[in-house]
Symmetry: C2
Subunit: 476 residues, 2 copies
Amino acid sequence: MSDTPDSAVRDAVTSGFPRFLDELREWLRIPSVSADPERAADVDRSARWLAESLRRTGFPTVEVWETEGLPAVFAHWPAAEADAPTVLVYGHHDVQPAERGDGWQSDPFQPTEREGRLFARGAADDKGQVYFHTLGVTAHLAATGRTAPAVGLKLLIEGEEESGSPHFPALVRAHAGRLECDAALISDTGMWAADTPTVCTGMRGLIDCQIDLSGPAQDIHSGSFGGAVPNPAEAAATLAAALHDDRRRVTVSGFYDGIVELTEEERRLFAELPFDEAAWLRTAHSGATLGEEGYSTLERIWARPTAEVNGIGGGYQGPGGKTIVPATAQLKLSFRTVAGQDQEKIQQSLREWVAATLPTGVRYELTFWGATRPCLTPLDHPALRSLVRAMGRAFEQPIRFTREGGSGPAADLQDILGVPVLFLGISIPSDGWHAPDEKVEIDLLRKGAEAAAYLWEELGAHPRPATARRPTTPGP
Amino acid sequence: MSDTPDSAVRDAVTSGFPRFLDELREWLRIPSVSADPERAADVDRSARWLAESLRRTGFPTVEVWETEGLPAVFAHWPAAEADAPTVLVYGHHDVQPAERGDGWQSDPFQPTEREGRLFARGAADDKGQVYFHTLGVTAHLAATGRTAPAVGLKLLIEGEEESGSPHFPALVRAHAGRLECDAALISDTGMWAADTPTVCTGMRGLIDCQIDLSGPAQDIHSGSFGGAVPNPAEAAATLAAALHDDRRRVTVSGFYDGIVELTEEERRLFAELPFDEAAWLRTAHSGATLGEEGYSTLERIWARPTAEVNGIGGGYQGPGGKTIVPATAQLKLSFRTVAGQDQEKIQQSLREWVAATLPTGVRYELTFWGATRPCLTPLDHPALRSLVRAMGRAFEQPIRFTREGGSGPAADLQDILGVPVLFLGISIPSDGWHAPDEKVEIDLLRKGAEAAAYLWEELGAHPRPATARRPTTPGP
Ligand SMILES: [Zn+2]
Ligand SMILES: [Zn+2]
C-alpha cells in the first residue's frame, strides 16, 4: 500500500530526534497541572508554547482556543489533494499534580534522562505522545518529499484532560465545523509492552466526584462528646466501605445496567496475551490482586466498570494522637465506566446511594468534577487496519489488540463529530502515569513518530502523488 | 468544721488575682504541645517556667523530673503538723496541638481576653486549672495566717498527658516514696455548668492507636490498575466503618467484658441533672446525637465505653480530583474505657480485630500511643465529703455529682499509690477542650483558687492549730 521505504522515514526521524527531544524537555518544564487553580497560568503558558512550536513545525493554521476553563490548542495542515481524508489528532497538554516530596527521584518538572528513559510529569501522559506528532509529520514530509501531508492533519490538544475535561464537549460542539474529519486519532494511551506493540480499541469512561462531610461545627473533645454525636470521618469511611459488596461488585444501584458485555472472542484474545501476573503486580507496585469476582485481571482493568477511593481525609493526621471528634471529612471517589453504561443515570444513582448510605446527623455535599464517556471502536474498521499496518512498519512485528482502562475524551469526539476513534499510543505500563517518577521510553517516542509518519502515508489518498516518488527508494 | 471566714479567703484570692492572671498568660504563651516532637523544647521550657513559679509561690521543694519522654514538675510544701494528711495535686502542663488556621479567632498561643474569658490553648486544659493552685495555697496561708498549709501539699504536674501519659506510670512507680499521700486531687476535669457546680467521681480510660496501611508501593493510576488491586484508603475505611454495629456497640471482641455497669441509683442521679439536650448539642457544636442503643447521652459520654475515629487519611486530598489508587492510608482510633474493662485484653482483641477485618493484600502496622486506665471513686469517702464542703463554700450552692468522659492518669495514682482519687475541676463544657478557641471562664479560675484554699483547711488536722484562729473572724 505504500511506496515510501521505511528507511526514509527512519532516517528522517533519526535526524530530527535530538532537536525534538530538546524541545520536549522544554515543554515538560512547564508545570501545567490543570487540577490546581494556582497553576492556571502555567497551563496557559503550556498552550502558547505548544502553539508556537506547531507553527515552527509548519502547520499553516495554529490557534489557542480559550474555554471557560483552561485553553486548548488547535492546528490544521490541509492535504494538497482535495480527496484526501482528514484525521484529527487528540492529546492533552495538561498534567497530573506532582510534588518532589511525593516520592520522585528527581524534580517532576525538571526532565531527567536515566537509562534511556525521560523522567518528568507528563513525559508519557501526555506531552511526549502529543509531541512525537511534530516529528512524525516532519518525517512524513521529508520521506515522501511532500510539502503538505498525505492526509488533512488536524490537532486538538486540550488543557483539562486531567481534570475530567469539563469543557471539552462544549469546545468540540462549538468548533464542530472546523474539527470535521474522517477519523479521530487519540495519542493518550499505551501499548502492552515495549516488545509487544498493540493497538487499543476502546477506553473506559470516568465519573469523578468528591463528598464533603460535616459533623460538629468544629473539632470537639472525644472524651467530652465522643460516643454521643455523629463523626464525619467515620461517615466518610462508611461510604467508602460500602462501595463494594463481597464479590467486589459496585453497590450503587443500577451500576451495571446496559453494559456491553465482553464477547467470548474478546475474552479469548485477552486470555492469549502474554500476561504475567507477577510482572504485572510489580508494575502495579502491588502485592496482590483484588477485583470483581468472575473476571481476569485484564478484564477487570480494561472492560469492567469499577469504583475507587482516590482520597479520604478527616480529623487529625499529624504526628501522634489527638482525641477529637473531627468537624469535617472528605472522600474523593472515581468510577470507571464501560460502553453501554448511562453516565447520567449513574450520577443520579450515586446521589441516591450517598443519601441512603450515610448515617443521620452528618451533612454532606456531593460534587461531580466531571464525567468522561467510555468508547469502543469496531475491530474491522478500514482506518483501524491502516493504523495496524503503520504500527507494524514502525515496530517490525505483528500488532495485537488491547483496551485501555483509563479514560479520555475519545468518546466525545466519537459522539459529537460522528467519527471512528483510533488510538496511537506508545506508552507502556511501567511509565507510571499519575504516579511519582513518571517517565517515557525514549526509543518508543521515536517509534511513535515513525508510526505517525507511516500512518499519514497509509491513510493518504490514492493514487499516490508524484512528489512522493523517489527514484532510488522503491517501496517494500 | 472550719473557723476561717470565707471572706478572708475571698479577699486573699481577689488581691492575688491580677498577678495570678498575668503569670498564667505568660505560661500559656509557651506552646507545650506534647504530641509534636518539634515542640519538645517548648514542653521543657513550660516545665521550667512552672517550677520557677512554684518556687516563687513558696514551695520549699520544687524539682523538674525528667522522664524517658517529656518532663514533669514536682513540688512539696509540708504541713507544720506531723499528723496532717498529705494531698497530691495532679495536673499537666502539656497541651493539645493548635494552629491559628484550625479555626481560632486569635492566636492559640497569644492568650486573649474577651467577655470575661481567657482564650488560649491550655487555658482550661490544663494550665488554668493547675495554676489556680498557686493562688489557692497563697490565699489559704493568708486567710489562716499560716506559714505552711494545713495539709502536706504535693504537686505532680506532668508533661505528656495529651500524648496518653506514656511514661507517667513509670514515673509514679519510680518516685512512689516521695509521692506518698493520703489522697490524690485531680485538677484536670470539669463541672456541669458555671451555675451548677459539681464534683466528678470518675474518669474514663483511653486506648489510643494508629493503623498505618500500605497497598501499592507508590500511588498508581486508577485507570490502569484500579479495580484489580487492593486500595489501602478503602481498607482504612473498611476498618473505621466496621468499628460499630447497628446498635452503635463496638465490635471488637470482648470489648464489654467485665464492665462495672451503672447502678439504677446512678442512672437516676444522672437523669435528674438539668440536662438540656438542645443546649448540649450546641456545646458539642453538633446537630444530632448518635450513640450506643439503650443509654442516655450523659450515660454514653460518662459511663459507657466508646470507639472514635480521630483521624483518617489516604490518597489525594488537594483541590480537584486525582485518579489514583493511593499507596498508603492511616487511621487514628481511640477507645474510651470504663471501670472493669481490661485494657491489655482490649489491646490484644484490637490486634486480632484489625487482622480479621482488613481485606487481604493490604499490609498494616498497628501502633498504640498509650493507654490510660479508667477510675471511679466511692461516693461516701470522707475526703470526697470534705471536697464537696469546700466546693460548697466557694460556690455558695449545693454541689451535685457527675463523671468525666475524658481520660487522665488518675487511675495510675489510684492504683500505684493506693489512694482515693478526688477531682477538683472548674472547667465547663463550652471551654472547647482540644478544639479551636479553647478558653476558660476567668471567674471560675477565681472559684477554683477559693475551693482549693477551703479544701486544705477542710482536710487539715484537728484540733486546728492556734495560728489559724483570728479573733475578729468567727467561722460560719
Ligand atoms: Zn493522559
Ligand atoms: Zn487535660
